[in-house]
Amino acid sequence: MFITPEGKEIFVVDGHTHFWDGSPENQRNIHGKQFIECFYAYHSALSPKEQLWAKDKFEKYSADDLYRDLFIEGPDDVAIIQTTVLKDFYKNGFGCIKRSTEMAQRSRERFIVNGSFDPRDGEKALEYIHFMKETYDIKGVKMYTAEWNGASKGWRLNDPEAYKCFELCEKLGIKNIHVHKGPTIIPLSKDAFDVHDVDYAATDFQGLNWIIEHCGLPRLDDFCWIAVQETNVYAGLAVALPFIHSRPRYFAEVISELLFWVGPDKILFGSDYGIWTPRWLVEKLWNFQIPADIAAERGVQLTDEIKEKILGLNAARLYDIDVTAKKKALAASPFSIAAE
């Protein structure tokens, strides 16, 4: 819960968080090492100085760290844990749905744990989707199209085998498909940040919600163009939001484009924890005003009402969270570790 300076309670759903293990013990090879180092570089490059973590904490933080940073010191009411597996880089997975689900037991009201699958696994992927639904009752998945899988260095949302998986998701009611479309590395060819596969998948699967994490940022223009045509495409703010600290004017331009093209009902807050912690992000977003010249250029505003949607109400709608009931339930359940 975020309390505004005027005393208003703002319901916060953190749409993009991780409970990862990037520690050396879990690294399978040099790629695993380099991957967490790259994340650490993001953390170091875009965080306010007083928010920086030591490297070993960043590699593997505890369940207590996460709980405290998100819910006690942080303003999150509900956090969506995304599972990024990277099994070619990490022995037990960088993210692991089993480990995250165990962690989430301490407060079932506060966590939504999403699954993940790799369509290149063919039949096995389909079996695994069934397994995740039956075992964890997942409501969503995180797709990482840049993931390596043996000789393959990536896949596309509109690959035929991916379509089989999405058909199954739709059938089973796994309706929120979070897609990493942001700064990344692969494919080797063409444009490494291409977002056009979203267009096909979103058109062909109208019953699914496509939440594009990092709003496809290196290709924001393409993404906006797609999002404006597809009613079921959403923008996740993770990675874009930290610029609010280092380059606020630039962030204003990004959020203005999103408000203009995608609209206030389809933008979702995400801290990308543990790359960033939610408290400073939410505080800065709440205090943020788009400079007049940029707002005028695009004819958009970032009102308190819109901020409230971005911070929680939009995600609540996607995940069928009854905000009033959830607030009541949370008020009735005490924090499970002591705040220091």
């Binding site: 790629h31 380099q34 991957f35 180092e37 790259c38 650490y40 570089a41 993001y42 170091s44 490059a45 875009l46 100085k49 920086l52 973590w53 030591a54 490297k55 000789a151 260095k153 700064p183 990344t184 590395i185 692969i186 494919p187 080797l188 060819s189 063409k190 444009d191 490494a192 940022l217 290196p218 290709r219 924001l220 223009d221 906006c224 874009a240 610029f243 280092s246 380059r247 630039y250 331009e253 990004v254 484009e257 250029e297 695009r298």
Partner: protein, 265 residues
């Protein structure tokens, strides 16, 4: 640095040439981005260049384009030296280094890893983005300068050449835009229009606002990459950030404080 005793003009020439190589995605010189970690003329006149990108994961096609640019820059040196270019700490460093050394095409280097290589089309995309970004900076600068949209779209190259901007983005991008325009339309005469779309179409005065909105999207993307790359590079290279003369706690956490004697009074 270094290379004492050798003509420093050669050293300067190397850097000047390297500064002409752009990161294709950011449209910024690789030297300005800090990607050239070392460029040195050795005792026998040969040249060594060490190149490092912001992350291990930087897209290999971009890495290739830059190194290919470096190779061409070194080929153009006046004393035609032997040279060695090395990419460090990249997931495909070995493949790229070997390939560039042998003058191979990108598609040949990565033939085993990828089916659809069209680096030519990629180059063209980046040329277009650079054209648009530079053009936007100049157009915005002219509007700030007080010109009407009608006056702006009616300008020819001669008129553009006499404009003097204050120091800033428009000033920096004007010659770069001019170069991009002439590269795109080599037959353009000095009395030809200074502003057309990438496809060569005129821009009606009434449509300039909408056109600028389109260009803005291109800039926002490129700036995102640029800001991210600068931030990541800085972190990766562990540059010491000294505030008030002393490293901060953060510098110690990040292990970027070099060993040195305790600071004296």
């Amino acid at each position: 640095m270094g290379a004492a005793g050798l003509p420093s003009s050669r050293q300067a020439e190397v850097w000047r040439r390297l500064a002409e190589v752009n990161d294709p995605e950011l449209d910024e010189p690789v030297t300005e981005m800090g990607f050239v970690e070392r460029a040195e003329v050795t005792g026998d006149g040969s040249v060594e260049v060490d190149f490092r990108l912001p992350t291990y994961w930087c897209s290999p096609n971009f890495a290739f384009l830059m190194l290919d640019g470096v190779r061409k820059a070194l080929d153009a040196l006046s004393w035609q030296p032997a040279y060695r270019v090395k990419l460090h700490d990249h997931m495909f460093a070995d493949e790229v280094n070997r390939g560039v050394e042998q003058g191979k095409a990108f598609g040949d280097i990565f033939a085993g890893l990828t089916a659809d290589q069209d680096i030519g089309a990629l180059r063209e995309t980046f040329r277009m983005k650079a054209f648009k970004r530079r053009q936007e900076a100049v157009l915005v600068g002219l509007r700030k300068h007080g010109l009407t949209d009608r006056e702006i779209v009616g300008m020819d190259l001669i008129a553009l050449d006499v404009v003097r901007f204050e120091a800033g983005e428009a000033d920096r991008q004007k010659p770069r835009y001019r170069a991009a325009l002439l590269e795109r339309f080599p037959a353009r005469r000095a009395d030809g229009p200074a502003f057309v779309t990438w496809d060569g179409a005129d821009i009606p005065a009434g449509a300039l606002g909408a056109y600028l909105a389109e260009l803005r999207g291109v800039r926002i993307n490129m700036e995102f990459n640029g800001a991210l790359c600068r931030g990541l590079k800085q972190t990766r290279y562990k540059e010491v950030e000294v505030i008030d003369g002393e490293p901060t706690l953060v510098d110690f956490i990040l292990d970027r404080v070099p060993e040195r004697a305790a600071p004296g009074a």
